[in-house]
Assembly symmetry: C2
Homo-oligomer: 307 residues x 2
């Protein structure tokens, strides 16, 4: 009998579902708008369960075909006990025993983890990180997150909160951050900061980062410089990570990485220049491969690794 | 038959040897001055081997009583292949197959690793880190080093170079470092920097850090402030490590930690104030317990873990 995994990429805006075959290929998809459910957790969970059932039916499968359900969620997750500890951007989600709730509702094994961890798993097993034993996966977007494969294992930290590269301080004194810290890396290269900077440089409040990318492609020197300055901050932050963790690979993902062609070289150059020789010589910087599907593929890995 | 381990703490100045029983107690010791051998590797290794033989004989033991030899060395070590890749402060040590050389000379199993890794092992199994699964051990001295126990395993990195906390940049622009980097943490709190700073503050070129410690104990406010400023830098550097790795424990060791009574509170306060809540709530900062014996005890752990 053909086996599949149901992957759920639970985002603050959308919830994406995928039916994934055992080769890691997404063969069918579904979508939900997170915001339609406001803070009605029960209704949201019920709808996810219905979408899963529908996805199975539409593909003429039964639950016997499904190995399990993997879910990536944007917040602090306890994967051991299957508990959503906290989702900062989805109201009302605190200490939700999601695994039990989902298992009771679906009668399928359920595995949950933080979305960036799940993306790192995806890139590691099916994307840019295939075959590597020590890698850092960084996602550049509204927030700046990280997932770490160390000694061939996803490292989650004592309280499952590891990987917060975006909240490593770039400077002792710097802009105050929502996290309560100061000078956090995210405050230099998060979407909001970059957009505000672009608005100033191009004297256009409505300019989007995609526009700055397009301008760079048209050889606009200010746009190219804009991305190179962002890349220098990214490189500076990664020097600390490289010296501390001595990874073989750094994978750059997230929305901002769409401009990788104007970021990659500077990031790599800064790392090579400022890191210690042993670490610098062996680290490679690459762009993520799985794009928007990284979390779906990673949620599949979460399940597959257990079977 | 009673079993023992021979531990060797190979420093840039002294080489300390210890006969350690299976409970981790050092029952006999020997010392060599590293500098007496200049760059004569062969002679140095021969003398270490002779000291080992002597230590065994003096204690009325034979090689049958010895499980193996553990060695911590100050540099880049490949513990898998038993090769000293590079010792920055001992001339002539590059790509030395020390394990094989020592095994041939002693007919005993030999295990080697970086000294800070070995210290972290010692503190983890027999010191301040007993029972912890995720801890960072930092040594503050001429250099600033680190050893990391992550998920109950010493993490060494892809090329055995992980743990260089001292070379995480504290600021994007900062003093140039010997490592080729800029703004490295070590440049703010390494012995040399602290001594130069003390000389200026106290208008005394000959002042030692021990003197500044004594002044602080006598309530000298400038001395107390001196240590608190150092502690603030240490805390700032550790915020990044705490947010990234979410450890349960941070162990502060090395010569500068002799002033722990004037450092500890500020380090912990800065970490609590600037780190993310989950990480800050669960991390504890403590002083190393094994003092100068940490590397000898750790080298013993290196051997014991294999049996």
């Amino acid at each position: 009998m053909k086996k599949f995994v149901i992957s759920v990429d639970f985002g603050g805006t959308n919830i994406k579902l995928g039916l994934v075959n055992t080769s890691g290929k997404i063969v069918s998809r579904a979508n939900l708008a997170t915001k339609n459910f406001a803070s009605n957790k029960q209704k949201l969970i019920r709808t996810i369960v219905q979408s899963i059932d529908k996805l199975i039916e539409e593909n003429r499968l039964t639950k016997n075909n499904i190995l399990g359900i993997g879910m990536g969620l944007p917040g602090l997750i306890d994967p051991k006990n299957g508990i959503v500890l906290f989702l900062p951007n989805v109201p009302g989600w605190r200490n939700v025993p999601l695994r039990n709730i989902m298992q009771n509702a679906t009668k399928l094994p359920v595995f949950i983890d933080n979305d960036v961890n799940v993306m790192a798993l995806g890139e590691w097993k099916y994307g840019a990180g295939k075959g590597y034993q020590n890698l850092i996966c960084i996602t550049l977007g509204t927030g700046v997150g990280g997932g770490m494969i160390l000694d061939n294992t996803l490292y989650r930290g004592e309280g499952f909160a590891a990987g917060e590269i975006g909240h490593m301080p770039l400077n002792e004194k710097g802009p105050v951050c929502n996290c309560g810290g100061e000078g956090c890396f995210e405050r230099y290269v998060g979407n909001q900061t970059l957009q505000e900077k672009a608005a100033k440089i191009f004297k256009n409040k409505a300019i989007a980062l995609e526009d700055v990318f397009d301008l760079a492609k048209k050889d606009n020197s200010r746009a190219i410089q804009f991305w190179e300055e962002a890349a220098a901050h990214i490189g500076n932050a990664l020097v600390g990570v490289v010296n501390l963790l001595n990874p073989r690979l750094i994978i750059i993902g997230g929305g901002v990485s769409n401009s990788y062609q104007f970021l990659g070289k500077t990031i790599a150059d800064v790392i090579k220049k400022r890191s210690m020789k042993t670490q610098a010589d062996m680290v490679k910087v690459v762009r993520a491969k799985l794009g928007n599907d990284a979390a779906l593929i990673g949620a599949f890995v979460l399940v597959k690794e257990k079977f």
